[in-house]
Symmetry: C2
Subunit: 123 residues, 2 copies
DNA sequence: TTTATTATTCTACATTTGTAGAATAGAATT
DNA sequence: AATTCTATTCTACAAATGTAGAATAATAAA
């Protein structure tokens, strides 16, 4: 699933809120907000793609994501890693740690995170 | 600079080759290759966007990237990190190490990479 | 119940993207 | 020189995307 920018943005809000009525979503947008019909269109397109679902409360719909942020993101990353680092995760990691402007603290954090992960696995 | 898939693919080849004549690019594509005019169109669009340039050899053009793979990729990543991890690199790293299906070896590699990076910095 | 408000669907339309045929120009080959 | 091949530009067009007005339905407020 690869969503266009505008829909991804909306998903972002929805992931954040977990579930929301249209009006809540509209509120999320910063000024200048898009027309409400624009948002309605996006919701409809996302429904068609089965990226979101809704539960009816009377006649009002409460929307919620059908694909998790994790799954979606993971998918995006795989694409990036495949395309830019011919599928080598470590090549990616290497690039990431050196080129991405990580501060020393962040690098240290990363070290901890990796260590934790390693510990968590050897059980 | 955010390029559409088809152009990104072409850039990918060009980054790999560093510089290339149109025919070399065509060769890069796997079967079924797109029509040569399709590639020509993409080259033109990339020229318009100033993502690539060319040097003339007689009447033949040798194309080359004007934006580096590093810069482009870095930009992509920043977008992803900003959108998905509200700008927190470590939050990203954490997600990456746990959710991305890293093998134990890859995780170890990552550990080394981080260590190296840390060493490289404390001069 | 009349009116104003909100949510949804439909329709519309300009851009952007993916793809490629037609036309043209220069270069290589016969 | 005539023919063929290659690169490039132009034009074209369908599909996807970004955006929103018009119409309609359902609800809430006057």
């Amino acid at each position: 699933m690869n969503l266009p920018k505008s829909e991804e943005q909306l998903m972002q809000y929805l992931w954040e809120m977990e579930k929301a009525f249209m009006k809540d979503l509209i509120e999320k947008y910063p000024e200048p907000k898009p027309a409400s019909t624009t948002i309605a269109t996006l919701l409809k397109r996302l429904l068609d793609k089965k990226a979101i679902g809704f539960k009816k409360y009377g006649s009002v719909r409460e929307y919620f994501p059908l694909i998790s942020k994790e799954a979606y993101f993971s998918n995006q990353m795989n694409g990036v890693i495949k395309n830019f680092f011919n599928d080598s995760v470590s090549q990616f990691a290497s690039f990431f740690t050196s080129k991405e402007n990580l501060t020393d603290e962040q690098l240290k954090e990363l070290q901890d995170i990796v260590q934790q992960q390693i510990n968590a696995r050897k059980k």
